[in-house]
Symmetry: C2
Subunit: 217 residues, 2 copies
């Protein structure tokens, strides 16, 4: 079950980049398909990986968190690695070795920056909410100054990294195709369920359209 998900390092990425694998359309499509991401960073020489949500605006990805978070403070201005990985299915082969997964993933590298300007931060947070649920931000109680101070938004330019995609059936060794073993794909996908209204919703508040329109890419 090797090569299950992309195993990548910077030297390979640089070479990939030269080979044209730094495919911005592919990278954008994966970032836009799945908000869940992992942000890797280093404190005192040790690695940390924080799961969070990312959103893309043009040439940048953004993520956010509490301004009190030591994690976010330790990501600002330093090298980070932002990874999005989407599991599309298990690939069942005729040997353990050739089991794999179908997946789409992106790894991005670079120095994270903090969005300092309050107005810009507000706009970014609005786009984050509306990117998931179009039109929702305008329906909400507007952000207080205090909310904005309590929130840190970090960004990364999409400049170094790679996308990797695997799809399709297993690739077995030629003699193994003669074996009477079921092989194939078991597709996986993320779906949304029925919305659960907050018990404290006011009577007569109607369900917004953006709720049932949500889809993972």
């Amino acid at each position: 079950m090797t090569d299950s998900l992309p195993v990548t390092d910077r030297s390979r990425l640089r070479r990939s980049h030269e080979r044209g694998d730094f495919d911005r359309a592919a990278i954008n499509a994966i970032l836009d398909a799945q908000p869940m991401c992992s942000v890797g960073y280093v404190i005192d020489g040790k690695p940390y990986v924080t799961p969070t949500l990312q959103w893309r605006e043009g040439n940048h990805v953004y993520w956010h968190g509490s301004s009190a978070s030591r994690a976010l403070r330790n990501q600002k201005g330093v090298e980070v690695c932002v990874t999005v990985a989407i599991l599309d299915g298990f690939v069942l082969a005729r040997s353990g070795m050739h089991h794999s997964v179908n997946s789409r993933s992106v790894m991005l590298f670079g120095k994270a920056f903090k969005v300092e300007d309050p107005q810009e931060k507000l706009e970014k947070l609005g786009r984050f909410v509306n990117g998931l649920f179009p039109g929702r931000y305008e329906m909400l109680r507007p952000d207080h100054d205090q909310d904005l101070k309590a929130t840190t938004v970090l960004g990364l330019e999409i400049a170094e990294g790679a996308a990797k995609v695997r799809s399709g059936p297993p690739k077995d060794e030629e003699p193994d195709y003669a074996l009477p073993i079921w092989a194939g794909e078991l597709p996986v996908r993320m779906v949304i369920g029925e919305p659960v209204p907050d018990p404290r919703n006011l009577d007569g508040v109607s369900e917004p359209d953006h709720l049932r329109a949500f889809r993972f890419g």
Copy 2:
């Protein structure tokens, strides 16, 4: 939308640990529910995050990859961070600030070790396949020595880390509950689809039971 997913650092973990948040039952349940993970590591002071699959055996998590992978070579014997994050739903509040996600996540820290003994490695890979698809490993073409040499298995003792779980409705500020805004949860889950047989399956090969029995936890 702060505190969307756990933002954790080692100092908090140590304190959490002391508070008893190092809950092995919760950690095990999350690791066992979702094989997808992110492995964070450091090369030349820079962070890398590689998505891969993990499996647990008792007090350890394991992952694997190609022996030729620079990533895996750079994880052996050094500090890594293994994170599993499961998105259970979006939490839609009455202000942008209190939007969140329901999720279960685990962060584990420690030095990764390589499983050197070939027999032990073989057993681990067998358990990995059977952990996902019970009984499958015994149906497969047995691993060649060459397969085993080409595969590196790394492990990490479950000793330092934390689990974090959020569930339930949004937590809005008290005055905001008077606003006529729909709030609630939009559940998310990972599901399997219809198996896709390899076009090269032999005639009459039957679909194994382990295929449709698979579930994410």
